[in-house]
Structure formats: structure tokens, C-alpha cells
């Protein structure tokens, strides 16, 4: 078994073992073991990748290829570059933290973990695929368990949220499938066979008309999950209704699929389409950044705040991707990682607060720092990291994006960049408002004085997520060089 396929196999095996779990405890332990292995593998993968990179200069390394559907030339092709490796590491981190955070799920716990891990297997598969078809398959596998996860274990208007989320995402993926077919049927433009293989298609000169036609399909297909305005509305209600671990995984990982897909497919395979369409989508993405930030300011529910914040931050990823230059793209990828970790942290924290106080309304909470010092401290740190304080991953990401975007020779791009940058102030406003209201100030409810402190598994989850945030923030050099090296071939397509 090769090093990459294991990332799909291990979750699947975990699920199979889970099916035979007899009780809650076994289910937890099995999931934990499975995902710990996954985590260890992903750390190993990073080092293996760095080692491999020194001898291998292909775009993708660790590639494996097996024919699947011969007539459509569909292969099970896998391979990774730095970006996928990092995304895999992010995913395994978040899912492991998610397992920790979900320790207390007791209603249909087995099913919960099964769904969660199926979702994860989809995400892992997505990141290792270099075949459009398998990639799409994994993408849908990753999306659909959300319905059950939100619908069964969620809170609030969970049924509607789950429905809205699933329909919008699956609708988008339906649009995406048109785009993928469009690419596929133009992949023989230079002669040769039709293919789904990304690397193969990248060598082909797809006609400009086809690129212009299918770029929006692919872009919108992915951008919906990346919370592009105005298709972001599934996100706030979906996140608000989802159980903690699901919000973490969804905002932390699943939404990254959008940016990743745009980068990997829309930009790479349809470069001319990308160039022709950027202005239009840039306005949407840029607007989304500001709009999401203002949306977050006005929310009363903690999860909604974070959901809108995610809209804002992920629009920033899209915005950066549309800038079509190396620095901005590096920023987009670091932002994906950073936002993944931070938003997972936030959702975990919100979940912990909610689990104790049974409310997420900002107005009803207050002064929890005194009662829950660990959670409070992490909350403040996360908040500061989220608003882009240096020393944390968010800063590195945002600065890459801003500097990169500002290097664009076109005046319009620079002006829109300036507008987008101003979102950092609004971000500060809602983050500080949230932190200030719920953690600081006097205790809002005397009953809260008896709230239990953070448990070992909660601490484990939080620390697990916090460590990479700081590592990226303090030592970004190696990371960004690694990413840049992988971006290079993608960038060359645009020149």
C-alpha cells in the first residue's frame, strides 16, 4: 500500500471497525486510534515529502496510477505537492481535534463518528487525487455526510440548515460536474485521448472559448463551498446548527476544498478563462470580504459571528487566488491553513462554552475568563490570532495576500486590495467585541460560577490546534518556500 492511499484506507478501515463497536467507549477509542494514526501519518508525510522533494522535481510526487474506467479514461490517480501535503496535515489535525472535542457525544455516538470519519475520508481523498473524476467523487463523499451530521446531532433549526447547506453545496457540485465534463471533453484539443488527469490536461491548450465558457462553472462550483458572495448563505445557518466537531471540520477543512479546487483545477486547467473572468469574480470576492466582516459584527449568536467571519476570511482566499500571482497564492494557501486551524479553534471553544452554559448568545454571556481560565486564555489568543496579530498564522497569511495583491500592476486591482485590507479593522471590531463580551467583564450569571473547568480531552484538542497556529506564525519561512515551490508550475500556466 502506498503512502497516500493509506490516507483513504485508514479512515475506511476505522469506519469498518467502528461498525462493530459495542458501546460508546469503544466507539470513541476506535475513532481516536484511527485518527491518531492518520495524524501521525500526515506528520510523517510532511517529512517524507520534504525528503522526496530533494530528489524529485515533478509537479506531483508519490504518484500512483491505476486504471479505473477504461472507456472514459478514468484513473485512480494520486499524488501530492506541498499544498496537498499541508492540507492533509490540516485535515488530520482538525479531525483529531474534532474527535477529542466530540468525546461527549452520546446520542448515536457510533453513527456520529462513522459519519465524521467518512467525511474525513472524502476530504483526504480529495486532496490526494489528481484525477478530476476521483477528485469529484471524493468531493461529494465529503459533502453529503454533513446532512446527517447537522441534521441529527445539530441544534436549533437544524433540519432547515442541514437541508439548505446540502442543497446549495450539492447544487454547486452539480454545476461543477458540468465544468469538469467541459474540461474533459476539451482535453483532446491538441489531439490525443480525452483524459481526466489534471497533469495531462495541463499540457493541453484548451480553446479559449471553451475556457471562457467552463471557467465560471468550475469556479462557482468550488466557490460556493468557499463561501463566495452571494452563495454563502448556507454557511452561517449551517455552522450555527452543526455540532461542534462538525462546525470545526466544516469550516476548518471542508470550506478549504473550494479554494483548493479553484487553485488546482479552475486556475490550472483553465488559465485563460481565469484571466478573462478574474475581474468579475474579484469584485464578488472582495465584496464578500467586507460584507462578511460587517455581517459578523451584527450577529448575536457566537457561531453566527464565526460563520460570517469565515465568509469574510474565505472570500479573502478567493480574492487572493484571483490575483493570479505567487505571493497572493501563497497567502491564499497559508490563509486556508490558518483559517482552518483558527476557525476550528473558535468553534471548539464556542462548543465548550455552549456545552457549559447552554447559550451562545453574546449578550447572555460574560466574565467567563475567571471561571474557565484555560478556555478563556485560548479564546483570547485565538481571537488575537484571528484578527491577524503577528506571531500567529493569520498574519503571515494576510500579509502575503495583501502584499501579493498589491503587487498587481493593474490600478483597479490595487484599489480593490486597499478596500479589502480595510476589513482587518472590522475584524478587530467583532473579535474584540466577542472576546470582550463573553470572556471579560463581570460574570453575567451567578450560576456560571460553578461551571466545570476544561477537561483533558478539551485541552488536548485545543492545544493540538494551537501549536501549528503558532508554528506557522513564528516560523513561516520554510512553509512559504515550500508552498512557493509548488505554486511555480501552476503560475507558469498563467504566463
Amino acid at each position: 500500500m502506498d503512502i497516500l492511499s493509506l490516507f483513504v484506507v485508514v479512515p475506511v478501515l476505522t469506519v469498518l471497525v467502528l461498525v462493530f463497536a459495542k458501546n460508546l467507549k469503544q466507539a470513541r477509542v476506535i475513532s481516536l486510534i484511527g485518527m491518531t494514526i492518520q495524524f501521525a501519518m500526515s506528520i510523517n508525510l510532511i517529512f517524507a515529502y520534504i525528503k522526496e522533494r530533494t530528489v524529485n522535481t515533478d509537479i506531483m510526487v508519490f504518484t500512483k496510477d491505476a486504471l479505473w474506467f477504461e472507456n472514459f479514461n478514468i484513473h485512480y490517480s494520486i499524488g501530492v505537492d506541498a499544498i496537498s501535503v499541508l492540507m492533509i496535515a490540516l485535515t488530520s489535525t482538525v479531525i483529531l481535534a474534532g474527535i477529542f472535542i466530540s468525546w461527549k457525544v452520546d446520542d448515536l455516538a457510533k453513527e456520529f463518528f462513522v459519519s465524521l470519519i467518512i467525511l474525513a475520508s472524502g476530504v483526504f481523498g480529495f486532496f490526494i487525487s489528481i484525477d478530476l473524476f476521483t477528485l469529484f467523487v471524493f468531493y461529494e463523499i465529503a459533502v453529503i455526510p454533513m446532512y446527517l451530521l447537522i441534521g441529527i446531532w445539530g441544534s436549533g433549526p437544524k433540519e432547515n440548515s442541514a437541508m439548505k447547506l446540502t442543497l446549495m453545496l450539492m447544487g454547486a457540485s452539480a454545476v461543477l460536474s458540468v465544468g469538469i465534463l467541459g474540461i474533459y471533453f476539451n482535453s483532446n484539443a491538441d489531439g490525443g485521448a480525452l483524459t481526466f488527469n489534471i497533469l495531462e490536461i495541463a499540457k493541453v491548450h484548451i480553446p479559449v472559448a471553451a475556457q471562457n465558457l467552463f471557467f465560471p462553472f468550475v469556479f462557482i462550483g468550488f466557490a460556493v463551498i468557499g463561501a463566495l458572495f452571494p452563495f454563502h448563505t448556507w454557511s452561517p445557518s449551517g455552522h450555527a446548527s452543526a455540532p461542534t466537531a462538525v462546525s470545526m471540520l466544516h469550516a476548518g477543512v471542508l470550506m478549504k476544498l473550494g479554494g483548493y479546487g479553484i487553485f488546482r483545477i479552475a486556475m490550472y486547467l483553465l488559465p485563460l478563462g481565469a484571466i478573462n473572468w478574474t475581474d468579475f469574480f474579484l469584485v464578488l470576492a472582495g465584496f464578500g470580504v467586507i460584507y462578511g466582516a460587517f455581517g459578523a459584527v451584527m450577529q448575536k449568536d457566537l457561531k453566527y459571528v464565526n460563520a460570517y467571519a469565515s465568509v469574510s476570511h474565505l472570500s479573502l482566499v478567493l480574492f487572493a487566488l484571483l490575483m493570479l500571482n505567487k505571493t497572493a497564492w501563497t497567502g491564499a494557501i497559508i490563509q486556508s491553513l490558518s483559517h482552518g486551524l483558527l476557525t476550528a479553534l473558535f468553534f471548539a471553544l464556542i462548543g465548550m462554552v455552549y456545552g457549559r452554559t447552554h447559550t451562545r448568545e453574546i449578550e447572555k454571556l460574560g466574565g467567563l475568563m475567571k471561571i474557565l481560565p484555560f478556555i478563556g486564555a485560548i479564546y483570547v489568543i485565538t481571537g488575537l490570532a484571528y484578527l491577524g496579530l503577528p506571531g500567529f498564522s493569520g498574519f503571515v497569511a494576510e500579509m502575503n495576500i495583501f502584499v501579493g495583491a498589491f503587487q498587481h500592476p493593474d490600478m483597479f486591482h490595487r484599489i480593490i486590495t486597499i478596500v479589502v485590507i480595510s476589513s482587518i479593522v472590522v475584524t478587530a471590531v467583532y473579535i474584540l467585541r466577542m472576546v470582550g463580551k463573553i470572556m471579560m467583564g463581570p460574570l453575567s450569571n451567578t450560576e456560571y460560577a460553578k461551571l466545570p473547568k476544561a477537561t483533558w480531552y478539551e485541552k488536548a484538542g485545543l492545544i493540538l490546534l494551537m501549536i501549528p497556529v503558532i508554528i506557522i506564525g513564528v516560523m513561516p519561512f520554510g512553509l512559504s518556500e515550500m508552498i512557493k515551490a509548488s505554486i511555480q508550475p501552476f503560475l507558469e500556466r498563467l504566463l
Binding site: I74, I141, I152, L167, V175, V178, G182, F185, L213
Partner: protein, 476 residues
């Protein structure tokens, strides 16, 4: 023509033998022995199905009235397997309800006759055989729809079915006569060579097409579907939606690709219009349904719309994809109907509301239902996904992008109502959920085969490759 060449009709002859054996059994058995009819019939059919999996050469007999090839044979075997699953799923119902009324053997005979008709229909080499096959497929089912003689809905459904289908076959017949007028032949092969595009031919085609479209439940020829499904016993509805429709789709495809190839510019437009209407109407009506049978009826209408996408690409790819999708559709729909059947025969409940909280009491049934519905909705890694994606690909390969786009929009709408069922079963707890019950072994086996089909047909690519390998039969 020698006797050996009769072996080309292997599956049909097998069916006739089974029917005869059953009639003999029915005549010479006493009341006690009657219960043995079910395993007896199942074993016979299973043997016939298994034999069917052995390959068969291509050929024509009876002066070209009957013809067969690998593709047809494969499809007939699939239909046979479908009927086997269907009978497995019906076994409990038969034992509890029908054997008591002393109508079990007849039930099986009628189903098998209809299957025989379907086989003849798709193997037919001229319009006469086609027409007789069509009638043989239809008429026994009409009797079956009325099978629950004590239920008004059943009788009402039967009336609607027989009258509507008589109209449809009459219209088709009129269409055939017009085609006959323009070409002077009823043989497919000959007609394909002499048919030329003219208003009369096109009108004849449209009349003829509407008769087949009736069987496939294409909009606007579909209205009987929901009412009949609702009235009919569940397994009969299942039969209608799976076997009868599947056979009709395949013969339609064959005719379009061979006989009506000269009319292609016209019939692609017809298909285009009908596809759009079918997908939208099926989906829009399915949204509101509470009765599971009606629900599945509309769902199967919408599915039929997707199948038509494959017809737009008149080539090997399209053929293979349509056959593939129909096979997947058979398994998925049988899974869904099987669960409805199981619940209905255990509790007499058929409404979506009744399914609330089903997962907590009957997890396995719910899972089967979920897999079946997700397969219908086209969610990977279930077979339906592959089927649908390849259908899109087939349409896209000929540049029908608008069509593909409409199809994906509809796929999303359809996901909505499939999720409604999932919602009832999984998300809701229900005030008085259906209590746990144990289905019979036949039912379990039937569902198991369906689930295996749903899981394997998609992921295991050699199946598609296999179908593809013989899908060029119409294009040499």
C-alpha cells in the same frame, strides 16, 4: 433454421417452461402444498437467471422476428435478476396475504408472463412482435394492479392502467400504421433502410413514441404513473417502475438508434423537449408527496428523464451508458421499493410521516433505504452517481451542454426530496415510530442483493467495461 438455433431464445423458453411448470403445479397441488410454490418458483427463476449469465451468440430466428445479441441477452438477464429480487421481496407478502386467498401461483405466473413479454419486446425484430411483446408486458400487469381485490384503490388503479395503456397502445399502433404507410414494411431492419424523413413519418414516429413513452412514464405521457403505483400492490408498482420501464427504455433506445436513425434530427428534438419536461415535472411533483409509492413514482419519472440524456448521444457510449444506468436504476429502485414493501407488509404504513424515527428502531432497513435513495440521487460512491455522471458525459459528448446543465439542476432538486425521506428516517425521532420488526429471510436476501448491486455496479468498473464492450452492436 434448426432446433439448436432455438437456443437463442434460451431465456424465453426457460420462462415459458417455468410458467407451464407453475400451471401444472397449481393444478395438481392441494391447499397445503401451495405454500411451497414460492421457493419452487424462486429456485426455477434463479436457475434461469444463472443460466442467463452464460454468454450467448448473436442471431436471428423466425425470419428476423426474433433476434438477440450479447447486449439484449445481458439486459434480459438483468431483468430476470430484477424480477428474482422482486419476487424475493414479495415472498413474505405472498405468503401472508396472497397464499391465503389462493392467488399466489397466479401472481407469479402473471409476473413471469409479463417478463416474458418484456423479453420478447426487446428481442423483437419487427413491429408485430414488438407490439405483441408490449401487450404481453402490459396486460398481465393490469391484472396484477387489481390484485388486491378488496381494495378500492387497487381496482381504481387497475382501471386507469388498463384504459390508459389501451389508449397508448392504440396510439402507438396508429403510429406504426403510418410508418408502415411510408415504408411498406414492419421489419426493423428493412424499415431502417427505407425510412426517409417526412412529415408523415415523423408524425408516425411521434404517435409511436408516445406509446412507448407511456410505458417509460415520460412527461406528458406519464400521468397514470403515480395513481397506478399508489393503487397497485407495492411489488407490482415496483415491477412497473423497474422491469416494465427498463424494458421499454431499452427497446426505445434500440429503435431510435436503428430504425429511426434516419429521423434523428426530428427525434432528438422530441427527446430534448420530453427530457426537460420529464425531469422538471417529475421533480416538481415528487416534492410534495407523502405516500411513499407516489413519491417513488414521481422519482422514477424524473429518473426516466435522466435516462433520456443518454439517448441523445447516438453511439456506443450512449448505449452502454443507458444500459448501465438502467441496470443501476433497477437495483436502486428495487432497494427502495423493497424497504417500502417490508414496512408496509409489517405495519401497513406507507406514508413518509410514518417513517419518522425509523433509524432508531430499524436501522438496517433505514440504511438500505438511504443507500437506495442516495444511489437514485447520484451520490458517490454509490452506483447511481456513476450512472448519472456517465449519462451527463454521454450528452455532453455530443455538445448538449444546456441539457446537461438542466439535468444537473434537476439532480439537485431531486436530492431535496430524497433527503426528505432521509430526514424522516434519520433526523426525526417521531412520536410513535414504527416498532422494531424482523423481516423474513427472503426479504433480507432480496434487499441484500439490491444493496450489493448498488455498491458494486458503480465502483467495480469491469461491469461498465463489459457493458461497453458489446454496446456497439447497433453501430456496425
Amino acid at each position: 433454421m434448426n432446433l439448436e438455433s432455438l437456443l437463442l431464445m434460451r431465456s424465453e423458453i426457460g420462462l415459458i417452461i417455468i410458467i407451464l411448470l407453475l400451471i401444472i403445479f397449481e393444478i395438481f397441488s392441494n391447499k397445503k402444498q401451495k405454500a411451497a410454490i414460492i421457493p419452487f418458483a424462486l429456485i426455477l427463476l434463479a436457475i434461469n437467471t444463472i443460466i442467463g449469465f452464460f454468454p450467448l451468440q448473436t442471431g436471428e430466428i423466425f425470419g428476423g422476428m426474433f433476434r438477440t445479441n450479447t447486449l439484449l441477452h445481458f439486459f434480459k438477464t438483468t431483468l430476470s435478476l430484477g424480477v428474482l429480487i422482486l419476487l424475493l421481496q414479495s415472498a413474505d407478502w405472498l405468503k401472508e396475504k396472497v397464499v391465503a386467498e389462493n392467488k399466489a401461483t397466479e401472481f407469479i405466473i402473471l409476473i413471469l408472463s409479463s417478463l416474458l413479454g418484456a423479453n420478447f419486446m426487446i428481442s423483437s425484430g419487427d413491429f408485430l412482435m414488438f407490439y405483441i411483446g408490449l401487450e404481453l408486458t402490459t396486460l398481465p400487469v393490469a391484472a396484477l394492479v387489481a390484485y388486491e381485490a378488496s381494495k378500492r384503490k387497487s381496482a381504481e388503479g387497475a382501471v386507469k392502467y388498463i384504459l390508459s395503456s389501451a389508449l397508448a397502445s392504440g396510439t402507438a399502433l396508429f403510429g406504426i400504421s403510418l410508418l408502415y404507410a411510408t415504408t411498406g414494411t414492419l421489419y426493423f431492419d428493412t424499415m431502417a433502410t427505407v425510412l426517409t424523413s417526412s412529415h408523415l413519418a415523423i408524425l408516425g414516429f411521434i404517435f409511436f413514441f408516445s406509446g412507448l413513452a407511456f410505458k417509460i412514464s415520460l412527461v406528458p405521457f406519464h400521468f397514470w404513473t403515480a395513481d397506478v403505483y399508489e393503487g397497485a400492490p407495492i411489488n407490482v408498482a415496483s415491477y412497473l417502475s423497474v422491469i416494465s420501464k427498463g424494458a421499454a427504455v431499452v427497446i426505445l433506445m434500440i429503435l431510435l438508434f436503428t430504425v429511426f436513425k434516419p429521423l434523428m434530427p426530428a427525434w432528438t428534438k422530441v427527446i430534448y423537449i420530453v427530457t426537460i419536461a420529464t425531469m422538471f415535472t417529475g421533480n416538481l411533483f415528487a416534492l410534495r408527496q407523502q405516500n411513499m409509492k407516489r413519491f417513488l413514482a414521481y422519482s422514477s419519472i424524473a429518473q426516466a428523464g435522466f435516462i433520456l440524456l443518454g439517448l441523445l448521444s447516438v453511439d456506443q457510449l450512449g448505449t452502454a451508458t443507458v444500459i448501465y444506468f438502467v441496470a443501476i436504476y433497477i437495483f436502486s429502485n428495487l432497494g427502495a421499493f423493497g424497504v417500502v414493501q417490508a414496512i408496509s407488509s409489517a405495519t401497513n404504513k406507507e406514508n413518509m410521516d410514518d417513517y419518522e424515527g425509523l433509524y432508531r428502531t430499524n436501522p438496517k432497513l433505514s440504511l438500505v433505504m438511504m443507500l437506495a435513495l442516495f444511489s437514485l440521487a447520484g451520490i458517490p460512491p454509490l452506483a447511481g452517481f456513476f450512472g448519472k455522471f456517465f449519462l451527463y458525459a454521454a450528452a455532453a459528448s455530443k455538445g448538449y451542454w444546456v441539457m446537461v446543465f438542466i439535468a444537473v439542476v434537476n439532480a439537485t432538486i431531486s436530492l431535496y426530496y430524497y433527503l426528505l425521506v432521509i430526514r424522516a428516517m434519520f433526523l426525526r425521532k417521531g412520536e410513535n415510530p414504527i416498532p422494531y420488526f424482523k423481516s423474513g429471510n427472503y426479504m433480507r436476501l432480496g434487499l441484500l442483493i439490491a444493496v450489493i448491486g448498488i455498491l458494486v455496479i458503480g465502483l467495480y468498473s469491469p461491469i461498465y467495461e463489459y457493458i461497453y464492450s458489446f454496446s456497439n452492436v447497433f453501430f456496425n
